[in-house]
């Protein structure tokens, strides 16, 4: 039989209960997250003001990877900027190559051959799949799910294997040229591509089974990082974040460039605009990109051999065989390499749909062989800007999935 609590015990319990009911006084705490933090892919610093575990305010500080991309471009030839564009978004280098080269072509008034356009679309979509895989895989890793991360990375390896066959490099591809591409498909590409696409589909299915309806994953993503349609537009957010908020803006459909108008693909959109919608949009976009890659492959095979570079002496380098045996071509090659093409004076803005959104290049030429200005409109920077809006009032733990699906790429954001 339990004895009655003594008066002293009763007094103590009453004090405890009173203490629990009273609003606990807490001070706001400032937390530095980054610039190097294991859960932040990319070098960026969050200065978070916390009330307990609730985010009161957040200041995003970017710029740690600033390498002076624009300044460097202003001191080389138009050609020498292409390898720098590889290093903007190093997850999808080919897309940045395409964006830059097409902007220069716009200034030059060049139309590339059909075969080149199909090659660019295919290489770009492989790049996009790799980028989305990194985003979804890394998000899983940072939410403590190791296995799906490895599925994602294995699939990304398959994309990179194809890129290696195509252009010899896995990450910084440097594949696209002004007025064309480096070279045509190697003979073994077709079979390898079909096999890898099959395996990527399988890995995506596995990934889907492990993650998409996983209770922990869904709980961490659903209802976090919300950004409304109006805020997306006001902050010029593009790409999967905007589409997850229900705006079907995809420049491949809105302003079809290359051969996208001849390709059958869908633009997935979300409803709510939270992290889970962003995840679903990315996963569906990978499926659509695989469809595009297959269609490109069929078209490239039915097109048969043809030029992959525009026949324009301003930008085209002569064939190597002729350079070694003919004086004229040797001179032409020498001048093309040492001086580079002259681009007529003027300005042009050209944007493509990169994996993160609208990747634009605003080029100004003064008519010389050196760019006067190469402005890269980085989707990462604009998508990172409203992070504080997405996270105000959220829990500290929501910072991680939100940052994952914003997919800020330091190289592109800071240039």
């Amino acid at each position: 039989m339990a004895s009655q609590p003594s008066p002293l015990e009763r007094k103590r319990r009453a004090a405890l209960e009173e203490d629990l009911e009273r609003d606990l006084h807490t001070d706001h705490q400032i937390l530095n997250m980054g610039p190097s933090h294991p859960a932040m892919h990319g070098t960026v610093k969050f200065l978070i003001e916390l009330d307990g575990e609730t985010v009161v305010d957040l200041d995003v500080q970017v710029g740690y990877l600033h390498r002076g991309f624009e300044k460097e471009c202003e001191s080389g030839t138009w050609y020498q900027a292409i390898p720098y564009t590889d290093r903007l978004n190093y997850n999808s280098a080919i897309l940045a190559n395409i964006g830059y080269c097409m902007a220069v072509e716009k200034l030059l008034g060049i139309e590339t051959p059909e075969r080149c356009q199909w090659l660019r679309v295919m290489a770009g979509e492989l790049s996009r799949i790799g980028d989305h895989l990194t985003r979804c895989g890394a998000a899983c890793l940072e939410l403590q799910a190791m296995t799906p991360f490895l599925y994602g990375i294995e699939a990304r390896e398959l994309c990179w294997d194809l890129q290696e066959i195509l252009c010899g490099a896995r990450v910084t591809s440097n594949y696209v040229r002004i007025g064309g591409v480096k070279h045509d498909l190697p003979p073994e590409f077709g079979a390898a591509c079909r096999e890898n696409v099959r395996r990527i589909r399988q890995l995506l299915a596995d990934f889907d089974k492990v993650v998409t309806s996983n209770r922990i994953f869904v709980d961490r993503l659903k209802g976090t990082g919300f950004l409304s349609r109006e805020h997306c537009l006001a902050y010029a957010v593009t790409g999967p974040i905007l589409r997850a908020a229900g705006v079907p803006l995809d420049l491949r459909k809105q302003e079809p460039y290359l051969t996208y108008d001849q390709i059958d693909f869908d633009v997935p959109i979300g409803e709510v605009g939270d992290n889970y919608d962003r995840y679903l949009v990315c996963v569906e976009e990978m499926q659509q990109s695989l469809r595009i890659v297959e269609q490109c492959l069929v078209r490239l095979e039915s097109l048969g051999p043809g030029p992959v570079n525009v026949d324009d002496p301003r930008v085209r380098w002569p064939a190597k065989g002729r350079v070694f045996n003919h004086m004229e071509e040797l001179i032409q090659q020498f001048k093309a390499v040492t001086e580079g093409p002259r681009v007529p004076a003027g300005e042009a803005y050209f944007a493509i749909e990169s994996a993160n959104g609208e990747l634009g290049f605003y080029l100004v030429s003064d008519g010389s062989a050196v760019p006067y200005k190469v402005r890269c409109r980085p989707p990462s920077l604009l998508n990172t800007q409203p992070i504080s809006l997405m996270l105000k009032g959220a829990m500290l733990a929501d910072v991680i999935p939100t940052f994952d699906f914003v997919n800020m790429i330091g190289g592109e954001c800071d240039r």
């Binding site: 530095n32 710029g63 600033h66 300044k71 200005k373 409109r377």
Partner: protein, 171 residues
């Protein structure tokens, strides 16, 4: 300047966006042209905020997004700097470029962050790299470079090899 300017410095060049803008704010636009398919309006810098508000709110223009904002340094010309805005309308699927010149000694222009919040970081970037100041900006400080950086590196008279003083860690 070139053949297509022959249609008049303030003509609409058959472009519906320029036609609407000229009809709404004829006194604010100084010059227009369409080159490489890009419609461009060069506006009076004092009217920039009015132009931006008009582009956003006028029916038929509906530019919801300020996609890009940057600056060009025309060293040796007067006025020296040119702030360049690129706008896009999701509803209408059209684009326009709006430029305004900023003269050298003051290097100041109105901020459009009040009209388009996306301008906030991009104006900070222009301030950081070109040293152009934006009047009425909510939080004008360096963004890509650090406090203590000497000069503005994208100015044409900034030497590429210039060394910078070492700045210690701050918190």
């Amino acid at each position: 300047m070139s053949a297509d300017a022959a249609g008049g410095a303030r003509a609409d060049h058959g472009h519906p966006v320029l036609a609407r803008l000229l009809a709404a704010l004829p006194d604010a636009v100084r010059e227009t042209h369409v080159r490489h398919g890009d419609a461009t309006a060069i506006v009076d810098p004092a009217e920039l905020v009015r132009v931006m508000t008009c582009l956003r709110d006028t029916d038929g223009l509906d530019f919801e997004m300020l996609v890009d904002l940057t600056c060009v340094d025309w060293l040796g010309q007067e006025p020296r700097f040119e702030v360049v805005h690129h706008l896009y309308s999701v509803k209408r699927n059209h684009r326009v470029r709006v430029k305004a010149r900023v003269p050298e000694p003051l290097c100041e222009i109105d901020s459009v962050a009040g009209v388009y919040p996306s301008a906030n970081w991009m104006e900070r970037e222009v301030f950081d790299l070109y040293g152009v100041r934006f009047r009425g900006h909510p939080d004008l400080r360096r963004i890509l470079l650090y406090e203590g950086f000497d000069g503005h590196p994208l100015r044409k008279d900034y030497p590429k090899e210039k060394r910078q003083p070492l700045v210690g860690p701050r918190n």
